[in-house]
Point group: C2
Chain length 444, copies 2
Amino acid sequence: MSKLKFKVVPGSVVAPQGFLASGVFCDIKRLGTGKGSNKGQKRDLALIVSEVPAIVAGMFTTNQICAAPVKVCAERVQAGTAQAIVVNSGNANACNGKRGMKDALAMTALVAKQLHIPDEHILVGSTGRIGVTLPMANVREGILAGAQLLGNEVACADEAVEAIMTSDTRPKQIAIEFKLGGKTVRIGGICKGAGMIQPGMSATGARPAALPQGLHATMLCFITTDAAIEAKALHACLQEAVANSFNRITVDGDMSTNDTVLVLANGLAGNAEVRSQKSGVKTFQAALNHVTLELAKMIVRDGEGVHRVVTVRVAGAKTIQEADAAARAVANSALVKTSWHGGDPNWGRIIDALGYSAATVVEDRVDIGYSAPGSRKILWSLKCGQPTKATFKELCTAAAPKEFDLHIRLNLGKADALMYAADLTEAYVDYNKGDVTDPTTLGG
Amino acid sequence: MSKLKFKVVPGSVVAPQGFLASGVFCDIKRLGTGKGSNKGQKRDLALIVSEVPAIVAGMFTTNQICAAPVKVCAERVQAGTAQAIVVNSGNANACNGKRGMKDALAMTALVAKQLHIPDEHILVGSTGRIGVTLPMANVREGILAGAQLLGNEVACADEAVEAIMTSDTRPKQIAIEFKLGGKTVRIGGICKGAGMIQPGMSATGARPAALPQGLHATMLCFITTDAAIEAKALHACLQEAVANSFNRITVDGDMSTNDTVLVLANGLAGNAEVRSQKSGVKTFQAALNHVTLELAKMIVRDGEGVHRVVTVRVAGAKTIQEADAAARAVANSALVKTSWHGGDPNWGRIIDALGYSAATVVEDRVDIGYSAPGSRKILWSLKCGQPTKATFKELCTAAAPKEFDLHIRLNLGKADALMYAADLTEAYVDYNKGDVTDPTTLGG
């Protein structure tokens, strides 16, 4: 992987040339209980618009139960062109039957009318509680207001990212600048996550033969770039970027009905069009990888109730599939995750999870160790299935930081995999149990 | 399934004729930290002995990482005869390499010497922290004391069951009496569970082709009976009983390294020997099913931090495997489990979990509903993928009891499966995170 340096710039999705955004409050979070008004008045509807038609690529949840907006997007991105994205939080518009599809299409039609863009070039996203129909009068107001407030100031991007948050405690956004064929190019992105997070996305939403063992709170990510890139190359770059970022994170092991990543490339940077297997594609890929990985890590760090972030690095598995299975088993084990929360360097729970995973594991081959994030200086707690001379105190110190890497070597083959994982805390439970006497506290 | 009535009798494992038990404290829970003495002085070593050699059958964890005592038992039960079981809590004797195997064998040899029973007729079980070697001097003292204290009084069984508990808050035991071929026969059992609980056991410990997606705190179960039964029939009955009880429970989705079920049948009831496909086998099977299911349910009810117990009943799946996958996905979803904790009848999280499971699910076919345990009076929250007219308040009432059934109909085929599941609570997290400054608080 190339070690290019990217300059970070402000403005996330409006940092690239020719992109506008807005975020407004229109009181979407209602649960049909008579109560349910969004007390905090947090923005809940975002628009992201390119001034010119853009090349588009998307990746979508492989959950068999998928929301209406996902279905709309998965179909529309096939054509390869889009110009605007409308997103609401507070309601997933999932499992709402024909009404849900009608509402999702009504959202795009409203945006099309306001912005004088062909309806088929509008994409839509939703996140929030499943099975509650959208308050369309509010959504309509929100779209009208949002269309008026579109701008390319940093504040506009800030308002857009606020509007897609649900249980997120902080906005997640980034923009970078780099040179591509002598031109200055930017990529910006916003995303939201927090819970129902173990995405397993494909380009069509169709299930792959080997299922990712997904987790969930919906993740949504919207990326803009002024790079000129052909549709096929953009699609391939997004696949690789997502495979190494969003599809490698887990907060709670639940794959959402709404996971969506969309990227719009409007070409206004004026670079020579990036094409598959041509020189520019590696640079663009590296830049896109950087953006998606940074955003993906933000999702884990801000996962519901998360106190510690652990990168689980499995090496030496027999196959990639086995490496992945081993990493996911550890990353999703309730007992491993609670031990991380307690700062307990409990390798017993880790080797136990490896043992029941779909990966081949041989007890006296397993090594387990700790390092600082990205460091190669590993403190081994287990070598060949046996405790090392590292003391309990030393191991506790290694497992104490807010972020660390967990190294697992199966020593049976050459396949590697990693997962960006999180601990399981009382705060996660408390948040997700909600309070049925106040349904506005109930999550996705 | 036959609806025989069984008379409950006291004494669990000593209720059948010719069985003795004891439970002693010998301070096993040490973590090599200088601290670690078992402050509560809870008993931690149990003996269960038949006065005469007994027919034996066993089922063991299919985790690839399995403890030394499991390896010893899996081999010894093949011979079909055993006479005594020695069990310690506070230390799993797992992942201790050659030392672990040596210690497990030393335990059986000590018992053999004390009781004048052939070593190969002694079985051994352990539960507790993984990767800590047994304090064998203490174990030796415990075995010597336990051998002296063997008795067939109810108090002896009570002491044995206390000695196998770890994070269990209450003892789990049962004994029943029934008629078999004109003779009075008894079956008694004790078990422990609490965390690292999603057993996936097979008779040899070998992994089945289709892996159960296991959870964990070790479960151990020891069953005694004075029925006369041939080894082959006992083995078959145990397989069926475990498949419908212990292999259908989950607390936290982690399959332990130590899960073990052993049954000793000493024949002292004097019934005509039960044989496969002969008349008595159905009665014996029904009685054994009753014992294992009652014990399995006790494990879920007393799971770590468990507040609510939910029986997940999936019907109408395409295949048994898919029904099982659907039930396990729902039963192990962090978001579903936290919603149960909150009393939130959130069908969105349930259908989401179904959608990412390995089962085929079609949104507009799915029905989801609630009933009292075992009742056919179901309050449907979802029919054909759409919310019913049941109010939020009505659904909250249905999801409020300490125990309820969750009914899921996929309406795609004829296969059914169920799982006995539990909610996920702050108390589970708090217990399992432990306190590294006091390693005696650290669990398995």
